[in-house]
């Protein structure tokens, strides 16, 4: 199997039953992608698959042959943080931080497609993922702040 992960071409022989989330975490040591439910509801494992958000726990790694996968590591600059990450930090749009990589990937996708979302649009997009800590209020603030910062 051959795919691109965070811009790097990866070639591996793997078991057909290995999920993309296990492949990223166990085989590539990209542990920023978290696993929260393994049945596609919580979104902690959200990555970008050819630019679209996807549940890494519901994908088999072999399904991603030829695809480009972007994880939280791929959205993090070598030095410092991205504006979206800075906004999450400034607004404390997280507490335990377990959902955060998935939330940031999701928000990244939203802002890429809709650079100036309304609060309702942000909520609708974020409703794809679960956060058990924040009640979402500060996450919505963070995404709105990042949108303003980009504008």
């Amino acid at each position: 199997m051959r795919l691109t992960v965070n811009g790097v071409v990866v070639e591996r022989e793997i078991e057909p039953r290995r999920s993309l989330s296990d492949f990223l975490r166990e085989d590539l040591a990209l542990t920023g992608t978290h696993v929260g439910c393994e049945h596609g509801v919580c979104g902690a494992c959200t990555v970008l698959l050819d630019g679209w958000s996807a549940r890494a726990c519901l994908l088999l790694a072999v399904q991603c042959d030829g695809a480009a996968v972007t994880t939280i590591e791929g959205l993090t600059p070598a030095e410092g943080l991205s504006p979206l990450q800075e906004a999450f930090r400034a607004c404390h749009g997280l507490q335990c931080g377990f959902c955060t990589p998935g939330m940031i990937v999701l928000a990244h996708e939203l802002l890429a497609r809709n650079p100036a979302p309304s609060a309702d649009e942000i909520r609708e997009a974020l409703a794809a993922n679960l956060c058990m800590c924040t009640g979402y209020v500060a996450i919505v603030r963070a995404v709105a702040r990042a949108a303003v910062a980009r504008a």
Binding site: E15, R17, R25, E26, L30, T31, G32, T33, H34, V35, G36, C37, E38, H39, V41, C42, A44, T71, I72, E73, T76, L81, Q85, F88, R89, A90, H92, L94, Q95, C96, G97, F98, C99, T100, P101, I104, A119, I122, R123, E124, L126, A127, A128, L130, C131, M132, C133, T134, G135, Y136, V137, A138, I139, V140
Partner: protein, 806 residues
């Protein structure tokens, strides 16, 4: 002196790594030669294990070991319960001869990866003899139903009646009595990271190392040592970043299973729950049924409260009756109720063990009281806010001790409610509600207020056992200046999202005159390096009440030593010195100063330069005990928790009669947690905690069928609130510092979760006023609403109550 760092809304140190996916959680750890564990779990709520044949599983390539209950019982001792049962019962880390809930582990496999371990589970043959299941705690309280432990002769772990004041007299004199029955479903705060552990056996030192996201490492370490028969000194237990806890994350049994497999295989062993395992077998808030009677005068003054409370513990032998005791401690809420009676049952059932979950018992207690206040207001035709204002304990009465012994230390409950009403624009919304109703919309407004205790005093178990138990009202911390002058701190309480690395740095920064970014606070917990006590851990809102004291105490010891060293070297009087910018300087003479680095050099290296008799090093540990913790008195009064914050919630909902859906249109909170150490963290806690209450009110319930099968074991059927379900919660604050905490702070983690279920329920009932609906149970699902509306009974709201005094 510069403005203190404590109190500032400082962005969090730990957030910098967490937003980058650079947190280090339990499942991110992978020691070499690691094995992965999967557990075989009971498909029956109650069944005898006749035989287990694990030979085929053990022979599967990639499997290193299989552990059955019988082997676990041979290799470890039973887990000691927090309160002993009348007859000792043995509770091992795996079910031995009988499974007592769906999902109880009966065998475990260690294999090269989780998938192989799960393959092996399919090869284990268990011969079951299904038994009738006890699923009804009410029946258990009556002495009916199958027994979980025949040797006990009952499923009732505790039954008692506690009376404080002249309850019978108050009911006899009352102008009226409100009686109602409330039910509370089981739910859980379901941290997004599931529970897990890694165990490693070191044959050379005959000791274990554990990595775990267990929230209460102190007690867990003690249980492990006792069950494994290993001295505590040979157990190292460490916690990495913890992905949420909310009380749920403790299960020493899983660590024991890993330890036994690690010892057998000689390899490190990891177990991480999957979501179904977590929902069905980790920890659920106890459900139950509460019968409440409230005696009142015609003007709405509360005279007495009588509660009969049947708590469904599931298979909980570890901390039974904890929900009961905490309900008792918070039974009066913020009200002046002179006489209280509490009759409690703690009942075993064949369901998931009940246990700690954000607020433990308080959300149910508050639900019952605040629902009763709403019903009483309606009965007396008094505004529900006004009825509460007539009954609050006032700030002038503080410190105020409730009949069962809770000590309300500070706050202004009427002011909190008034501020919330103002923030919510209560009067305007009431007017709008009238016009909306005229237009046919089902709009409702709900108010609920609560006290929110912090810190625990498990000595309250004396009510049950008659013996003083471990209190838990203490914590330990360490502050050290390293040989290079850098400041480091560690705390016995591993955070699970509360930002302690930042807040501890703020506290230490103030004490030592440095910036918070110059203070490194240890991530998590490590029993080998962190100071800790028997009940060290992350629970019960305790940071403000005990942890702050430990940090302040340790920092002050280091500060005192810095001053002594500097006084000696600068030949100055300590009284003339000040700590500023990472140095000790003579006040007013900025050139006469010694940086921490130079003082550290004296302390660690140039020890001949120490003042006579001074010990080398620049490190201090401090353990702090909160002074409010007390043992039980002769009248069986005891503070089960310590310092009290308070909050008022106002909620506007609209019910859609077509779908039965409830939408929260506005939600305002005003809370008072004393001095806010970091308002950014505090506000987040209020949001998140309130969201948990909203989930319990509208969505979440663990439902069991009559055979004890869990019907909601995934996030497809156990529904959590999403960003579309939680409104933009508007938070205001008052700050009445507690005189009984080192920094004036009070608890904040549970405050939203306590009153929110009642606030939402009161709002829905208000919205359905014209239908004569009384909300007696949660969650208020669309199906429930639709049934209410469809029943079209329009029963008289007052018909449930006896208007005459008892």
């Amino acid at each position: 002196m510069a403005a203190p760092w404590v109190g500032r809304a400082l962005p969090l140190k730990e957030d910098a790594r967490l937003v980058a996916g650079r947190g280090r959680f339990l499942d991110d750890l992978a020691p070499g030669r690691l094995l992965h564990v999967a557990m075989l779990r009971s498909p029956h709520a109650h069944a005898r294990i006749v035989a287990i044949d694990a030979a085929a599983a053990a022979a599967l390539p990639g499997v290193a070991a299989v552990l059955t209950g019988t082997e676990a019982a041979a290799g470890s001792r039973p887990i000691r319960p927090l309160i002993p049962t009348a007859v000792p019962v043995n509770d091992w880390c795996l079910a031995v001869d009988r499974a007592r809930f769906v999902g109880e582990p009966v065998a475990a496999v260690a294999a090269v990866d989780r998938a192989t371990a799960e393959d092996a589970l399919d090869l284990i043959r268990v011969t079951w003899e299904a038994l009738p299941a006890a699923v009804d705690a009410q029946a258990g309280a009556r002495g009916e139903g199958p027994l979980l432990y025949p040797e006990l002769g009952t499923n009732v772990l505790w039954h008692d009646t506690l009376t404080y004041g002249d309850v019978d007299g108050a009911f006899a004199r009352a102008d009226g009595v409100l009686e109602e029955r409330f039910e509370f479903s089981r739910y859980a705060s379901t941290p997004l990271e599931t529970f897990g552990a890694i165990a490693e056996w070191d044959a050379g030192t005959a000791g274990y190392t554990f990595w775990t996201n267990d929230q209460r490492p102190g007690l867990t370490l003690a249980i492990l040592a006792e069950s494994l028969g290993v001295p505590q000194a040979r157990i190292r237990l460490a916690c990495p970043d913890i992905g949420g806890g909310f009380g749920n994350k403790r299960r020493p049994a899983y660590l024991l299973v890993c330890a036994l497999l690690a010892r057998r295989t000689g390899r490190p062993v990891k177990f991480v729950e999957d979501r179904r395992e977590s929902l069905s077998a980790l920890m659920q808030a106890a459900g139950g049924v509460m019968d409440l009677a409230l005696a009142y005068r015609a003007d709405g003054t509360l005279l007495a409260l009588s509660v009969r409370d049947v708590t469904d513990e599931g298979k909980n032998l570890v901390s039974p009756a904890q929900h009961n005791l905490i309900k008792l401690g918070n039974i009066a809420n913020g009200y002046r109720i002179p006489a209280v009676r509490y009759e409690a049952w703690s009942v075993l059932t064949n369901t998931c063990p009940a246990g700690a979950n954000r607020g433990i018992g308080k959300p149910f207690m508050c639900f019952a009281i605040e629902r009763a206040m709403a019903l009483l207001a309606r009965r007396l035709a008094v505004d529900p806010a006004e009825l509460r204002l007539r009954n609050y304990v006032t700030s002038a009465e503080m410190p105020y001790t409730t009949p069962p012994g809770a000590a309300y230390d500070s706050g202004d409950y009427p002011a909190t409610l008034r501020a919330a009403l103002e923030r919510f624009e209560y009067a305007r919304r009431r007017r709008e509600q009238v016009s909306a109703r005229a237009a046919g919309r089902l709009l409702g407004i709900g108010i609920a207020t609560s006290v929110e205790p912090a810190g625990t005093n498990l000595a309250s178990y004396e009510i049950i056992t008659g013996r003083r138990a471990a209190s838990g009202s203490a914590e330990a911390a360490m502050v050290r200046i390293e040989p290079d002058g850098q400041v480091r701190a560690a705390l016995g309480d591993p955070p699970s999202g509360q930002g302690y690395e930042t807040v501890v740095a703020q506290i230490v920064a103030d004490e030592l005159g440095v910036r918070p970014d110059q203070v490194d606070v240890a991530r998590g917990f490590d029993s080998a390096t962190t100071p800790w006590l028997y009940l060290s851990g992350n629970y019960s809102n305790k940071f403000s009440v005990t942890d702050t004291g430990a940090v302040v105490g340790a920092a002050r010891r280091v500060r005192d030593k810095l001053l002594r060293l500097a006084a000696h070297r600068l030949e100055a009087d300590v009284a003339d010195l000040e700590l500023r910018d990472g140095a000790v300087a003579v006040r007013g003479v900025p050139t006469r100063r010694l940086a921490f680095r130079e003082l550290a050099r004296t302390a660690y290296a140039d020890v001949l330069g120490l003042p006579p008799g001074e010990e080398p090093g620049l490190e201090a540990r401090h353990a702090y005990q909160n002074p409010l913790a007390k043992p039980m008195d002769a009248a069986r009064r005891v503070p089960s928790q310590l310092v009290f914050a308070n909050a008022a919630h106002c909620c506007l909902v609209e019910v859609d009669p077509g779908t039965g859906g409830v939408k929260i249109l506005a939600y305002a909170v005003v809370h008072d947690c004393g001095r806010e150490l970091n308002p950014l963290i505090v506000e987040g806690m209020v949001h998140g905690s309130t969201a948990h209450g909203i989930g319990a009110a509208l969505l979440e319930a663990f439902r069991y069928d009559e055979r004890g099968q869990l019907l909601t074991s995934t996030f497809m059927d156990y529904l959590k609130p999403t960003a579309l379900d939680v409104p933009a919660i508007d938070v205001g604050r008052l700050e009445h510092p507690s005189p009984y905490t080192p920094l004036g702070a009070k608890g904040v983690g549970e405050g939203g979760a306590i009153p929110a279920p009642a606030a939402v329920a009161n709002a829905v009932e208000d919205a359905l006023n014209s239908y004569g609906v009384t909300v007696r149970t949660l969650p208020i699902t669309p199906e429930q609403v639709w049934r209410w509306l469809d029943s079209r009974q329009f029963n008289n709201v007052g018909s449930n109550f006896s208007e005459s005094p008892q």
